[in-house]
Amino acid sequence: MFESLLLVSTKYSLIVGFAVIGLTMWFSYWLSAKFTRGRVHGSAIAILLGLTMAYFSGAFTGGHKGVVDIPLLSGIGLLGGSMLRDFAIVATGFGVKIEEIKRAGKSGVLALFLGIFSSFIAGAGIAMAFGYTDAVSITTIGAGAITYIVGPVTGAAIGASSEVMALSIAAGLVKSILVMVVTPFVAPLIQLNNPRTAVIFGGLMGTSSGVAAGLAATDPKLVPYGCLTAAFYTALGCLLGPSVLFLAVRALLPG
């Protein structure tokens, strides 16, 4: 019997995804209303639940793709994959006012550069504090703090060891997960409640998944503004990481 059920779930994987995620959403909104009186947003709880499930799946299956490694739930990979994610993000742009983007444009570009430099310095500084002394490792770990894509791309370009690359991916993952979880709680403190700060936030954080989920849990109206700048972040990071940033680290290191 289990096998025939498994057959249905693989054949109709996306439908299973809709059902499971729908139920998760319902449960999260119920938790939000019942125990926090709506103070903690339902979508924030849902994202947290998703991450928790991903943690345990990783712990039990030893895989790298969260709940997708559980055969019954493989459809969640399609639903939460980059294809549908990008499609849905673009759709949120339909309500955007072009004047708002124009007004925040310059700050958005500035935020992109500042975000990349500050994340890189944070990552590189921590790497040095943990005893790394060679420019290649320091740069790769710093690049990982930009995003988990910039880390390995930079590492591969400048010849980092696979161990350091894995660390840089982990640093980027921690960043993206943290942005997902913490943003709705920090938002009131940093005035993240209007299109302008959302554009800046997207540029400073840059992790597409973190920004997408963090803003969704804060205020869905802000999503397109943040994702617009975040869309350029990883590419800019890949451009600067193996070039400007690596050369800067090499020049600044003693010896």
Partner: protein
């Protein structure tokens, strides 16, 4: 028809992502350069153009709005497929590198917000964020 809206969204997404991919290739980067952002701008521009022409009826709009509404569930699914276990088994260094980057990022939001405002406040009046759709 609803499919017109879905199709408009699909065309904008494909064109935007393709431009981003080609840009990345031209710059020699293994990444998509702003594809989602370009697609979004295409949708905003074509949406408001077609709207002015009176081509977009409420049904067409629903085709886009459905996907915009499905966005949060998609993000929850995305969260559920992250390598959370891998992130936290990366050790103290990976965790503190990620945490420091995030703290710095949050701290810089109000700084940048203020910087831009001081310059533009004289010329443009700050309007309240509005919620109406294009």
């Amino acid at each position: 028809m609803i499919i017109y809206g879905v199709s408009l969204l699909a065309i904008c997404t494909l064109v935007g992502i393709s431009i981003g991919q080609v840009l990345g290739h031209l710059l020699g980067l293994p990444a998509n350069v702003g594809g989602v952002g370009i697609a979004m701008i295409l949708l905003i521009l074509s949406g408001s153009y077609l709207n002015k022409k009176g081509v977009i009826d409420p049904k067409t709009e629903q085709g886009v709005e459905f996907w915009s509404a499905v966005y949060i569930p998609v993000v929850v699914a995305m969260a559920a497929k992250q390598n959370v276990f891998g992130a936290f088994s990366g050790g103290a260094m990976a965790i503190s590198a990620g945490v420091t980057a995030v703290v710095l990022g949050f701290a810089l939001v109000p700084v940048l917000d203020r910087m831009g405002k001081e310059k533009t406040q004289a010329s443009t009046s700050i309007s309240s964020p509005s919620t109406d759709r294009v």
